[in-house]
Amino acid sequence: MNRTFSRRRDRLLVYQAMREEKIAFSRRTKCPFCGTESSDLEWNRRLWVCPRCSFHTPVGAYYRLANILDPGSFQELEEGLSPADPLSFPGYPAKLAGLEEETGLKDAAVAALGKIEGRKAVFAVLDSRFLMGSMGTAVGEKVTRAAEYAARKKLPLIIFSASGGARMQEGIFSLMQMAKTAAAIQRFQRGGGLYISCFTHPTTGGVTASFASLGDFLLSEPGALIGFAGPRVIEQTIKEQLPKGFQRAEYLLSHGFLDRIVPRSEWRAVLSQLLALHEKGGRI
């Protein structure tokens, strides 16, 4: 019985990943970084890492989960959570509705229960196709509930960030999500919970300055832009050009703000190792 459901959920996940239109093989897509055109078949085989320059292009939340989780282990959490419009911001509800239609997401985050090599964990994945993965009340609430759920079930928490920061359309309420998520993570960690934070391109602003920087482990995909202020704002402020590679994952690694850079194809292996090392009693 359980097996039937897990198979059904699996099919649904694949369907949702397909919906993200990453698997249309006849098309060719240009790398947003180096400009080289490759067939989508090749892109997909390389998990949307540029075959030429290895740029890790942003991918959808379901696609990412589908490529990381054990088959049959995906269970979405809090999928009914919808965004709110606390400022009654002109045009915002229509924009949300359009994006839901386009992406199949209600907002920019997906939370799920899943397994990697048989080890259970709670996942939250931000999706940059939805208003740059910005954090409004729904994203903040989903991340918070994922942390609370992980605390209740005594499971590790793994978050993939990709975000332009706080969502402007929800104003001060977005700012408060920084405090809310940071507080939930703090509580989870003080209770002994393992939190692995995975940065992906790009993660800036209020997400960098809250839950994403609080992991027991901070990992990143290669080349990801990670920062508080965006490079354009910094250049305008200091009135000079930033050095090449500034705010990229490799730069952060050398400045002491990451544990490791993980190519997209290695997430499963790396996460599996970390989860295994935190199993109660060890596996010796």
């Binding site: 809090e78 609430e141 400045h255």
Partner: protein
């Protein structure tokens, strides 16, 4: 409700003649002992902090510091802290918790400094750690937003049991200029942004973001400092008395739950697995 428009309030909030953290400390506290440095790499004058007595009671006080003239402004980087400032604040707050001292913060910043070195030294991480630390402190924390409180740079000192706000102060996700340039690609529409952002004390009180609005003189805080000091002093005495009745874990719980509830109004289609 107010005779000032949101745009006029933002101008008032930025008036350089308003009392700042240093002025509040001089007027409301005695025996102030400034603590400097983050014990990691540096000292950031744009965060002012130390210990002092408030009505005889030792407290830790931390605030954003802007300058009164160009020279001081340059030294304090116009009240835009770097990671060292936030890490100093963390150090002071941890120490306050160790000694059981209440914490009072004064918030007034255009935002955290968006500079090259600030990024290299982990501006985002420094702010995130402030938020996490403050959320769990087992001593009373009261924040007073005195001028402009913009973005994570302001919030980093405002995860408090009570967030109080001067009547014409502004508190927002980003400066109205930044907001307009992100949403409309036009910083010149900042005035319009002030209107939609709901950044006034009255709006924020209604939204449950701040818990108290403190009256200012008719023409703004810069016209009568003494009146402002009296108001802020009375509010701090009252809030502190209420908070000191709570034990440490209850203080952390109250603060957690207050922020936990912010923006939690969505459909609750909670589908738990087995």
């Amino acid at each position: 409700m107010s005779r000032y428009t949101p745009e006029e309030k933002v101008k008032l909030a930025r008036n350089p003649g308003r009392p700042g953290a240093a002025d509040f400390i001089t007027a409301l506290f005695t025996d102030f002992f400034e603590q400097r440095g983050d014990r990691l790499s540096g000292e950031d004058p744009s965060i002012l902090g130390g210990i002092a007595r408030f009505h005889g009671r030792p407290v830790t006080v931390v605030g954003h510091r802007k300058g009164k003239d160009l020279e001081e402004n340059l030294r304090c980087n116009f009240g835009m802290p770097s990671p060292e400032g936030y890490r100093k604040a963390q150090r002071l707050m941890r120490q306050a918790e160790k000694f059981g001292r209440p914490i009072i913060t004064f918030v007034d910043t255009p935002g955290a400094y968006p500079g090259k070195e600030a990024e290299e030294r982990g501006q985002g991480e420094a702010i995130a750690q402030c938020l996490a630390l403050m959320s769990a402190l087992e001593v009373p924390v009261i924040a007073v937003i005195t001028g402009e409180g913009n973005s994570g740079g302001a919030l980093a000192l405002a995860v408090a049991n009570r967030v109080l706000m001067l009547e014409h102060a502004a508190y927002s996700v980003l400066s109205p200029e930044g907001f307009a340039s992100i949403l409309w690609k036009d910083a010149a529409r900042a005035g319009e942004a002030c209107g939609v952002m709901k950044l006034t004390a009255q709006d924020l009180r209604r939204g449950g973001i701040v818990q108290g609005v403190l009256r200012e003189p008719e023409e703004g805080a810069h016209t009568d400092w003494e009146a402002v000091f009296r108001t802020v002093d009375a509010a701090l005495v009252k809030e502190l008395a209420a908070l000191e009745k709570l034990k440490g874990p209850a203080l952390a719980k109250q603060r957690y739950e207050m922020f936990r509830a912010m923006g939690q109004n969505m459909s609750l289609a909670r589908r738990e697995e087995t």
